[in-house]
Amino acid sequence: MFRLDNLVLAQKDFRLTADWSIRPGAKVAVIGPSGAGKSSLLAAIAGFYQPVSGRVWLDQRDLTALPPGERPLSVLFQDQNLFPHLTLAQNLGLGIRPDLRLSAEDHRRIDAALERVQLQGLGKRKPAEISGGQASRAALARVLLRARPLLLLDEPFAALGPALKSGMLDLLAEVAAESHATVLMVTHDPGDALQFADETVLVADGVAHPPAATAALFSSPPEALAAYLGR
């Protein structure tokens, strides 16, 4: 169970509170107007941003004081998910051992992960030599290898075309299911939330609201969401 316990984020004029939990394995979208604090919420969960007060829990474990790399989670950013000077295989290898001292077994796992996302044979390429969609798939393959119980995504695939993005969301759902991960995905596109997420967190007016069933939320949106959706 993932839980935000009276979490308070604050910086200058910005303030955000969150106090809710999600059941294991849930796929949750985080939506709201820009500047509301969606990305800050994710950064706080990932450990890049210290909350003023409150705790972050995962399965009875307090993550609040852990450095980012020691948290049981994976992060996908909007871009820059791969190091451009390392090959795809090395970029994936970082998900197994950050010092890249990899065994033959590790290399087999990397090849399998590449194959899983249809990038077989591209392990020796560098990120500049593949397409944006392929780069996103490589990043997802690393998520598979890391197999962490929580997956955070900050507007991923935003640069991809609709068909490519839709396929990516399906692949993401499969990857999440295979690694039994709980997923939190920031998005500005209601379509993403409807396609991918059973539940949605609305971030508006300084509050990250508890997750609500996505379909119900969008069919009768509260005032803040209606304003964001332009209804």
Partner: protein, 514 residues
């Protein structure tokens, strides 16, 4: 947090640096016999400010078109020209001055040419001689700093400009001028601060009441008047001036937002045609000639001298290379720890400690250290360690400047990704920092090695005969009127300096491009 021990280490290093700089200055202040400035001291102050301002302005103004031409043109020999841009700044000052005299001096190439055309003689002595030498020594630094700024603009931004139909003017206005506005104050302030402590140039091309710098006045107070109190007083004035200039450089060059990351694709800067092509050509030829002629002149003069080299050249060379390599290693290690801490949002006083040596001059620090340890250690035992220490301190501000922007970009682009993957400690250095920063690291190491190799300052005050470094040997030979041998030894010095610089710089670039 994982970064805590590293910040602690950087904090301790910063504190040590502050002690090593402020301690000697305090010693100088303690020994200063009051600040009663005579007319000669005021003239030195005025001349110091005038020549430093003009040197900075002229160097930067010439560097912008040269850097621009280098950034957008591809031609055979471009890499060589860029390497050459590192040359005069790295050239031992005394050798550079010899080259300039050969070209611009009384019996130099320019005057001989002018004479055959019936033109009046020009003199290289006085203000304009000092300016020529300072521009010669600092123009390449300015070009390389500005060129790095140009190359750090992501290719995507130029492509965006192209797709919006930007003319070269629009590119200059929307992309290049903002970069220059961010960069130039730092370039100006750095050159101003360097020229503020000009010693060897003023010693050889200046002098007299009209063209004496403070640094030269300090040296004269010690060597000719044996007046330690007067020297300390001047040193205090020099330090106050340098502190203001360093503060200025620190404020002006405190670059914040770096340009975002572009993928590692080749540059997309389209070279414009027409008159701009001719102008670029002019600037490239001007820069190449201005930098190459004195170097060539120096080489032609030094070659015959190689046969007349005294045996003492080789131990002196070994001593110089050893000091240079240790100095480069220490400077870059300290620099990387400091920029790493600052790029992760470390305290601002860490940055302050890295640039503070700009405020002090090598001469002032050397005299201060001498005053501090005089009761316990003799000057002869001190010569090489103090020279090493002063070399590290004097190179650190430049190395810090060169490393901070790539370090900030690295942190902004990949800091979170690395942290989220648990990429820390030695693995982070091996897999992220080193492959992505090897080029600036190599350049910084080459720079500090060559600066140390050519340094002629503190060592002249302290060294015993068996501790002579190569630049000091050149000066001794010159003083003994063994001009041939001096020119030959100077050539050895230059060859070794450049070889060290080239090895480290090219090595770094090779690793990063791999």
């Amino acid at each position: 947090m994982a970064s805590r021990p590293r910040s602690l280490g950087a904090g301790a290093i910063s504190a040590g640096l502050l002690a090593l700089i402020l301690g000697p200055i305090a010693a100088v202040a303690f020994h200063a016999g009051g600040l009663s400035l005579g007319a000669a001291d005021l003239a030195a102050l005025r001349f110091t400010l005038l020549q430093a301002s003009l040197s900075a302005l002229i160097s930067a103004a010439l560097a912008v078109p040269v850097a621009k031409a280098l950034a957008r043109r591809r031609f055979p020999g471009r890499g060589l020209l860029i390497t050459l841009m590192g040359a005069p700044f790295l050239l031992p000052v005394i050798v550079a001055v010899m080259g300039l005299i050969t070209v611009f001096g009384q019996a130099g190439w320019i005057n001989s040419l002018g004479q055959s055309l019936g033109l009046p003689r020009i003199s290289i002595y006085g203000l304009h001689g000092v300016l020529i030498a300072h521009v010669f020594l600092n123009l390449p630094l300015a070009v390389r700093m500005i060129l790095q700024g140009w190359l750090s603009i992501p290719a995507e931004r130029f492509r965006l400009g192209q797709s919006l139909g930007f003319t070269p003017r629009d590119i200059a206005r929307h992309i290049e001028r903002p970069m220059l506005a961010q960069l130039l104050p730092g370039v100006l302030a750095s050159i101003f601060a360097i020229c503020l402590t000009s010693f060897a140039v003023a010693l050889t091309l200046g002098g007299g009441p009209a063209a004496t710098t403070l640094e030269l006045a300090i040296y004269q107070a010690i060597r000719f008047e044996f007046d330690l109190a007067h020297a300390a007083g001047l040193a205090l004035l020099q330090t106050g001036l340098g502190a203001v200039a360093a503060l200025l450089a620190w404020q002006l060059a405190g670059m914040r937002a770096g340009p975002g990351a572009g993928l590692d694709r080749p540059s997309a800067l389209m070279p414009p045609t027409g008159w701009r092509r001719i102008a670029d050509g002019f600037w490239l030829i001007f820069a190449a000639a201005f930098l190459l002629l004195p170097l060539t002149a120096m080489a032609l003069k030094g070659l015959p001298g190689l046969t007349a080299l005294p045996a003492s050249v080789w131990p002196a060379a070994l001593r110089s290379v050893t000091v240079a390599l240790i100095s480069a290693f220490l400077t870059v290690t300290l620099g990387m720890i400091l920029v790493g801490a600052v790029a992760r949002g470390g305290a601002r006083w860490i940055e302050f400690s890295a640039v503070l040596p700009l405020a002090a001059s090598g001469m002032v620090l050397g005299i201060g250290l001498f005053l501090l340890v005089r009761p316990w250690i003799g000057p002869a035992q001190l010569a090489l360690p103090v020279t090493l220490l002063v070399n590290v301190l004097m190179a650190l501000p430049f190395v810090y400047r060169l490393l901070i922007t790539p370090a900030r970009n690295l942190e902004a682009d990949y800091g979170r990704l690395a942290a989220s993957l648990g990429l820390v400690g030695f693995a982070r250095i091996r897999l992220l920092t080193w492959p992505r920063m090897a080029a600036p690291i190599g350049f910084s190491a080459g720079l500090s090695a060559a600066l140390s190799m050519g340094d002629l300052g503190v060592i002249a005050l302290f060294a015993a005969p068996d501790q002579v470094t190569l630049p000091l040997l050149v000066q001794h030979l010159l003083g003994a009127y063994r001009i041939q041998a001096a020119a030959g030894a100077a050539l050895v010095l230059v060859a070794l300096s450049f070889a060290l610089f080239w090895l480290l710089d090219a090595g770094g670039r090779y690793v990063q491009a791999r």
